[in-house]
């Protein structure tokens, strides 16, 4: 895709420029965004604070006292001009995530089946037979936005969010699916749970070493993700815990 001329740049804050690609959830376009992010991390390293990618956008936080926005703009335009066309997914690494899709733990499984006029088995098949693309990290530490859900599973988020869901909850909403890495409020529909952790801490957190790489996520932006259905027994073997919804 050679649509680099469609990238818009907006200097939205004292130290941030937002780059926007055409508004769509597209793994090929997103791969170009990630490629671009890697390029600027190399060529603009000395003026960068951080960069954050999302579905069709990328923000660059920079030291505005080290480079003017006009100079930065020049540098970015040069890089954009040399962005290669991408026509296929080259990142073929697939991260597999085991999921127990049980009615006891998939709090909204029956509701989703009802709303989508599918059987529970079909919901599980559709969800687990799709390969997803990781578009963004955000919301809570390790929360990774995955898309796109098959059309037949797409439905609006819950009308009122739950105050708390267990860590590992696998959820869907609109075109997206995700795993809640920690127990948190949740507006998406819960269809299962994974026993594995979404992030790890490399060092013992009690050691007070200031190290940026202490935290790593299971999924990183740009990767391909697939969910593997597992049995209740396998889920428990892997350390999963059955937490049923408290009905008040």
């Amino acid at each position: 895709m050679a649509a680099t001329e469609k990238i818009t740049l907006a200097y939205i804050s004292e130290n941030a420029v937002l780059l926007e690609w055409p508004e769509k959830i597209c793994p090929i376009q997103h791969q170009q965004i990630i490629y671009f992010q890697q390029q600027i991390q190399i060529s603009l390293a000395n003026v960068l604070i951080d960069t954050v990618a999302s579905y069709a956008s990328l923000i660059i936080y920079y030291h505005f006292d080290k480079i003017s926005w006009a100079q930065l703009n020049n540098e970015l335009m040069k890089l954009i001009k040399h962005l290669p066309s991408i026509s296929a997914i080259t990142n073929t690494e697939i991260v597999e995530i085991p999921v127990y899709y049980g009615r006891d733990i998939g709090w909204d499984l029956e509701f989703v089946a009802q709303k989508t006029s599918l059987s529970i088995e079909q919901v599980i098949d559709y969800h687990s037979q799709t390969t997803y693309h990781a578009y963004a990290l955000g919301f809570t530490p390790g929360f990774c936005y995955l898309a796109s859900l098959p059309k037949s599973l797409q439905m609006p988020r819950r009308s009122s969010p739950r105050l708390s869901v267990p860590h590992g909850s696998v959820a869907i909403a609109e075109q997206q699916t995700a795993v809640y890495p920690i127990s948190s409020p949740a507006g998406w529909h819960i269809i299962g749970q994974t026993p594995i952790k979404m992030f790890s801490l490399k060092n013992d957190i009690n050691k007070s070493l200031p190290n940026k790489n202490e935290f790593s996520t299971l999924m990183t932006v740009g990767q391909q993700i697939q969910f593997q259905p597992i049995s209740r027994e396998h889920f428990l073997d892997l350390g999963g815990q059955i937490i049923e919804e408290k009905t008040s």
Binding site: Y11, S13, E14, N15, E20, E23, I25, I49, G138, F139
Partner: protein
């Protein structure tokens, strides 16, 4: 190790420095001191590094007993500090000796006060920062939530009293404006797409809502206000910088503060300039604010001048 022991506390207290500026790509909120003016002033008075951690006290009462000798500074909202029951000056440094009791009361004006210690508070760092974030507190990444019984650790104190550059002495009354606060913002595309009438609606006087916190400030409009129907636009979540003005369906702006999420999906009007965000963080629910357009160049000049004051 040396420490101050908290034996009485109300309100919300947390350890803050300038935040985790390099970890937003992992989904971590930048966090950091809400009012950089008061925070940096405290460090400057003590001859500290800019990024030394201090205690941020939001509308609280606090009493600590000092287990060692140390030099402290108190800045931000005036919290009527006393040492052993005797009134002491605000925006000043003070000496605490072993056994001394420092007490802070709820401020009459403003919201946030800082208690800084020479050489900074020592706590468990996380992502190159000591800033604590409410949403992550239960994960225990950077130490326990500050409560009665918590200890504020510090290193051995400098043998020389801090050398304060008096030519750069601060005049906080010049920084914090009289009410109502004008929030200058850098407009985004959505602003340009609005009619003049619609733009006028967003420049009304808003009231700060009680649902405001370190993550975001919600603004309420008067019930008579017109609801602006925004033109259709991007609805996919995008990265959101400090000061982002989100417009949810009810038309009432949310201004994203230090503990904001890294990406967000609401339509965005623009970005409030950082120097005005520091001022906003001291404003209470019920107070009035107004939005006004400015330019990127002006915003950068303001922030640059702000940083110049705190250059060593």
């Amino acid at each position: 190790m040396n420490f101050l022991n908290i034996f009485k506390m109300k309100g919300q207290c947390s350890i803050q420095d300038l935040g985790r500026l390099h970890s937003q790509h992992l989904g971590f909120s930048a966090s950091g001191a809400a009012d950089e003016y008061a925070f940096l002033s405290a460090n400057q008075m003590l001859g500290n590094e800019r990024n030394n951690a201090a205690l941020e006290i939001i509308f609280g009462e606090l009493s600590v007993v000092s287990h060692n000798n140390c030099t402290i500074a108190i800045t931000g909202a005036n919290c009527f500090a006393t040492i052993n029951g005797k009134k002491v000056e605000h925006w000043q440094t003070h000496q605490l000796n072993t056994g001394d009791v420092l007490s802070l009361s709820t401020p009459k004006y403003g919201l946030i006060s800082y208690l800084a210690i020479a050489n900074g508070i020592k706590s468990k760092p996380w992502l190159d920062s000591r800033s604590q974030t409410l949403n992550e507190q239960k994960l225990g990444f950077n130490g326990e939530t500050i409560r009665v019984g918590s200890k504020l650790y510090f290193n051995d104190q400098p043998s020389q009293p801090p050398n304060i550059n008096h030519s750069k002495q601060l005049s906080p009354e010049n920084f914090y404006q009289a009410a109502p606060l004008t929030l200058r913002f850098i407009p985004q595309l959505l602003w340009q797409q609005l009619s003049t009438e619609q733009q006028t609606v967003f420049q009304q006087h808003y009231t700060i809502s009680a649902n405001s916190n370190r993550m975001g400030y919600r603004l309420s409009q008067s019930p008579q206000s017109i609801l602006v129907h925004l033109p259709p636009g991007s609805r996919l979540s995008k990265p959101v910088p400090y000061g982002t003005i989100q417009i949810p369906e009810n038309g009432e702006p949310i201004i994203l503060m230090k503990e904001r999420q890294t990406i967000g999906g609401y339509p965005v009007l623009g970005t409030v300039i950082q120097t005005d965000l520091f001022r906003l963080s001291q404003r209470r629910p019920g107070e009035k604010v107004q939005l006004r357009v400015t330019t990127l160049v002006h915003a950068q000049q303001q922030l640059n001048a702000f940083h110049q004051r705190f250059k060593p």
